[in-house]
């Protein structure tokens, strides 16, 4: 009797995540309808974001925030990937246990710091540094990209370290016995062996960078401008939502939902491809 109830409750809880995901998609899709019908696919490459007279109509296009999201993510990935690989190699192959352990904890703490802290620190301390080196006015695409990189490095490094650690010692030792250098062992034994996990961690970090809101909101400049230079201020989908969603009405609101839907679908595809193709969770 109690057993049946328990089982049903656990089954219901398990299906809840399915319903929430479907619910998110359905709600976003529903509220995005007006914008979808008005603009169709042109939404993706329309640069204007202009409310009409008296809040009636207007032209809304997602081009600027979409490009801003993609570019800041690309900058972050280009910087973060080699750094994270380096840290993972350091932790698994170079450092002794007494060094690797505290460094590991430090990296994980870096991952635990809330993103709003990165944003605020970046605005007051890192943006001036970027400004003095690259010019511009401090906030902009480049600053957002670099701080985003700092945010995703620990996450990427932790997963890469874990998958590198799964390489059997026998394989490494036989390579060393053949006279291979440490780098050759890393390149020809460890990397091929943990390839899936490494690519998976990169893609997961990519998904995280795409959807990151607060750190970027402080740093990207939040203006509806197409970028010409890398230091130019612009905006991204999450930042536009964070700053303007609550005040929007009618068609503008619907266009915001449209952007949220695009972001949700893209990150859904990215994350599930990482899960299914590369990380393929082993069910014990």
């Amino acid at each position: 009797m109690g057993g049946k109830l328990f089982r049903n409750f656990s089954f219901f809880s398990a299906t809840l995540s399915f319903f929430i995901l479907v619910g998110i998609f359905a709600i976003l899709f529903h509220y995005a309808q007006e914008s979808m019908h008005t603009f169709g696919f042109d939404f993706l490459w329309t640069e204007q974001w202009e409310p009409g007279e008296d809040d009636e109509g207007g032209i809304f296009g997602g081009y600027i925030p979409i490009v801003g999201t993609l570019l800041s993510t690309i900058i972050a990935m280009v910087i973060a990937t080699p750094l994270a690989m380096g840290i993972a190699i350091f932790l698994t192959e170079i450092a002794s246990v007494t060094v690797a352990k505290p460094v590991s904890i430090a990296i994980e703490l870096l991952a635990a710091i809330p993103s709003i802290i990165y944003g605020m620190w970046g605005l007051f301390y890192f943006a001036p540094v970027v400004q003095s080196i690259f010019g511009g006015n401090g906030v902009g695409l480049l600053t957002a990209g670099i701080v985003l990189a700092i945010m995703i490095v620990p996450f990427m490094a932790a997963i890469t370290r874990d998958s590198m650690n799964t390489t059997p010692s026998v394989l490494k030792e036989s390579a060393y016995a053949m006279g291979a250098t440490k780098f050759e062992v890393i390149k020809d034994v460890i990397m091929p062996y943990s390839k899936g996990g490494i690519i998976g961690s990169i893609i997961l970090a990519l998904g995280r960078a795409l959807g990151e809101t607060m750190a970027v909101a402080f740093l990207i400049g939040s203006v509806m401008h197409t970028v010409g230079k890398v230091t130019d201020p612009t905006t991204s989908i999450p930042v536009l939502l964070a700053n303007n969603f609550a005040e929007a009405e009618d068609l503008e609101m619907s266009s915001m939902y449209f952007l949220a839907l695009i972001l949700f679908v893209v990150s859904f595809i990215i994350i599930s491809s990482a899960k299914f193709y590369f990380l393929g969770r082993k069910v014990k």
Partner: protein, 269 residues
């Protein structure tokens, strides 16, 4: 000789990456501590935002995070129990497991938009319930995944011993399996709590913010993180100082809970 030099260079670069990583951690913590500690006064803790303190914000943020925890922990644990103990090996369980992993990485701002459409728009006002629900949605998949992974570590023999004693399935799960995985699950709960207490994006247009002390969840609800975002962008020095103080306190809370979680697991092993 070439390959030996290349080897040296790569190892050097790897070490350098670790130094850079640690360097940023210290840079962030150092500026945060300096700015935070110099900005904290006694009044920071005793006054509400309207009078230049963060008392109501701390209470509000913890209230929403705790309410989210009260929902997410039972739901997430039960779901994890289903995946590992009842549905294990079934197609449905593996689909749900993957969907829950995807949900864990869903952009937090999108969850905010979703909850806005569901719980704010129809009622015409920001409210604390919506904030708590948004945080719970963020937390559930983390709890599911921890529970699932921790139950997987419990040896099958324990379950079999329970069955041999004639225990019913749910009694075995509750009194043997979950108990054996208690430490790991507790750590997971602590870490996920540390994660959601610092969230901003899902709260921006669900709970929004409130300058005054309130426990009325039907009203706009005070949030520490949303306040930091607002205060940091105000031009006056007093607001910025308060933002630094709040950021420092928030980071200390998050890191303490995080270390506590790790400490629990190390002690029991």
């Amino acid at each position: 000789m070439n390959r030996l030099i290349l080897n040296k260079i790569i190892l050097l670069l790897s070490t350098l990456s670790a130094v850079i990583g640690i360097g940023f951690l210290f840079w962030i913590l150092a500026t945060l501590s300096y700015k935070g500690i110099t900005s904290i006064h006694w009044a920071t803790f005793t006054k509400d935002l309207v009078d230049g303190g963060i008392r109501n914000l701390l209470v509000g943020q913890f209230t929403m995070a705790l309410m989210a925890t009260f929902v997410a922990v039972p739901v997430g644990m039960m779901a994890g129990i289903y995946l590992r103990e009842y549905g294990h090996g079934s197609k449905l369980a593996s689909i749900i497991r993957n969907l829950s992993d995807v949900m864990m990485s869903a952009p937090s701002i999108v969850i905010g938009v979703f909850v806005y459409a569901l719980l704010v728009d129809p009622f015409g006002s920001y409210n604390g319930w919506a904030g708590a629900v948004a945080l719970a949605i963020m937390m559930i998949p983390i709890i599911i995944s921890t529970t699932d992974n921790m139950l997987a570590l419990v040896p099958t023999e324990l379950r079999e011993a329970g069955m041999a004693l004639g225990g019913s399935k749910h009694k075995i799960i509750l009194q043997i399996v979950v108990r054996a995985a208690k430490v790991g699950i507790t750590t997971g709960i602590l870490l996920s709590f540390a994660r959601i207490i610092g969230e901003t994006a899902p709260l921006l247009f669900t709970s929004a913010n409130n300058q005054f002390f309130t426990m009325d969840l039907g009203d706009q609800f005070p949030s520490l993180t949303v306040s930091i975002y607002n205060l940091a962008t105000y031009p006056d020095e007093a607001s910025r100082e308060l933002a630094w103080a709040a950021s420092f306190i928030l980071t200390m809370i998050v890191l303490t809970i995080n270390l506590l979680g790790r400490f629990v697991i190390r002690n029991k092993k």
